[in-house]
């Protein structure tokens, strides 16, 4: 395997470059996935049937906590990639671990939020609005859950095999995924919660 040392490790081989480009294209597909969910959400936003409307169920505190957690985790994984590029394996593992812990905390708050909605009569089957709201949030949440496992696997591999072109490449791609989930959350925060509470 030819390794080009003039580039960061994660771009080191041809296959690495292919992987990164391929993942960016996948993120393009993810943009459309969430766009379709948003299109559906906006269409059904006011179709609440006999159920509650967004303004009646949204609460700022948990949403703001979720936002700060995810923004911070996006920052720490950025620090992780920075450390990786300086060749600091332990610092990188630490930052990645913090990221995953923040992600886990986010998920905890989201689960609380879901049970809260269910307890105040805004469950999945109540109306078109609650159905698409929980499906959209749930799709994002499922992505975060998948990311937690994926990130854990990558930390284990870096720990065992060190920073090689292969592990660095996986770590970098994981960071792209994580940042992307943060971007999606920003849109959820702005156009589902804040718009709903405005």
């Amino acid at each position: 395997m030819k390794v080009d040392n003039s580039l960061p490790l994660e771009y080191g081989t041809e296959q690495n470059k292919l992987n990164i480009l391929g993942f960016w294209i996948f993120l393009g597909a993810e943009v459309m996935l969430f766009a379709t969910l948003f299109a559906t959400y906006f269409t059904l936003e006011n179709r609440t049937g006999n159920g509650p409307a967004g303004a009646e169920i949204f609460e700022l505190t948990p949403v703001l906590i979720e936002t700060i957690l995810l923004l911070t985790s996006s920052f720490t994984i950025g620090l992780g990639v920075h450390a990786m590029r300086l060749g600091r394996k332990n610092a990188m593992i630490t930052f990645f671990s913090i990221t995953l812990l923040l992600g886990l905390a986010f998920l905890g708050v989201e689960i609380y939020e879901f049970t809260h909605y269910a307890s105040i009569g805004a469950g999945l089957q109540v109306s078109a609005f609650t159905g698409i709201l929980l499906t959209t949030l749930g799709t994002h949440g499922a992505h975060v859950t998948l990311g937690l496992f994926w990130g854990l696997f990558i930390i284990m591999q870096v720990k065992k095999r060190g920073l090689t072109p292969e592990t660095a490449n996986k770590s970098f791609i994981f960071s792209l995924y994580w940042h992307f989930l943060d971007v999606v959350w920003i849109f959820i925060f702005s156009f589902i919660y804040l718009k709903g509470m405005m």
Binding site: G28, G78, S175, S190, L194
Partner: protein, 93 residues
Amino acid sequence: MSELFPRKQVMGFVFSLVLTAAALTVYFMDVSFAVGMTILLATAFIQAGVQLVGFMHAGESEDKVAIYANIYYGIAIALVTIFGTLLILVWDM
């Protein structure tokens, strides 16, 4: 030591916190729907841009043309889909 300090990441983080705070004005202040949406659209898209360029290093590799083309194309079609759907099913129904 200066290159060890992740300046770009720290700046990006601070900036995204500021943008989040700016977006919160629509909640705490009494703004009209149009003004509110304008603020949200601006803060959300700037935030996305910060993540994309600052954190995700979209423009650093030799494939940056392909990457940017892919993302812009995706966003364009996403907007067409969202606004087209709203036009058909909400605004002009």
